[in-house]
Amino acid sequence: MRLLNTLLPTPARSLLLFVVWLLLNNSIAPIHLLVAALLALVIPQLTVSFRDPQPPIRRWGLAVRYIARVLIDIVLANLQVIQLVLGPNKNLRPGFVLVPLSMTEALPLTILAGTVSLTPGTVSAEILPYQLDATSSAPKYLLLHVLDLQNEAELVASIKQRYEQPLKEIFQC
């Protein structure tokens, strides 16, 4: 077990590298399998010391549901943005919104910021305050830019309930 840990410090990343290499070549010829295995062994070894530890995914079922929900929301987001883009500019009511968060871990925060950027009417601007110390647990805020701000409290509540809550459950943090 310890040998396996030294060889594959991050099994998920190794698997991802292996699959990505095969997809890039679109082939499972022996030479590609060999190179993919080599990359999957060497790259994690070289990069493992740069990585901060991240919380693991605890609830896979919920994670899959989360991805499906985000994909649907991306489609809805597009229809909404297109509607706004085609309308006159004076109908736009852009604004900034600050969302107080109850998560502090880097990985779930990153996923949340990415999700918010891809879904209806909002782009993540910043996660504040800056995390100078990886172990700090100071409260975080997400600053958003909204293309058409109608009801601020509702928007904040929906982001917290729709995206933050599932992420907290997925990572149990």
Binding site: L23, I74, V85, P94, F96, L118, A125
Partner: protein, 130 residues
């Protein structure tokens, strides 16, 4: 034309339309912050549809296994929000002026405070009431 060919055609057209509208948003919207919304969303969905059409075509019409398109979609979905995040961060850092009717412009000043690690009374109230 078969159902398969119809769906590929529709996906290609929808994809092209979304990419076009996303790019149109770049020149049409009034300020930097609103312009960011077009490319992050419409272009993502547009390219997503094109990638899906390409997968359908190569796997079912040409009958050859082709899964590389997953990679395009994966990289796209990771890089689009990160790019938007970096751009808007720079804009805030440069104190780029948003369009006049933008609401809560005071948050841009509060941001400087928060970035330095000082918490704000108004913001704390928000967090407590939650």
């Amino acid at each position: 034309m078969s159902l398969l060919e119809w769906s590929i055609a529709i996906l290609v057209m929808a994809g092209a339309l979304f990419v076009l509208l996303g790019s149109f948003a770049l020149i049409k919207l009034p300020d930097f912050y609103t312009r960011l919304h077009g490319p992050t969303k419409a272009t993502t969905l547009g390219l997503g549809s094109l990638v899906l059409a390409s997968m359908l075509f190569f796997n079912f019409v040409q009958q050859q296994l082709s899964l590389q398109q997953f990679l395009i979609a994966l990289f796209l979905f990771i890089s689009a929000p990160v790019t938007a995040y970096m751009l808007i961060k720079v804009a805030l850092h440069q104190k780029l002026v948003p369009m006049l009717n933008t609401r809560h412009q005071d948050l841009m000043k509060q941001r400087d405070n928060l970035a330095k690690g000082n918490d704000l009374p108004t913001v704390e109230k928000l967090a407590d009431s939650d």
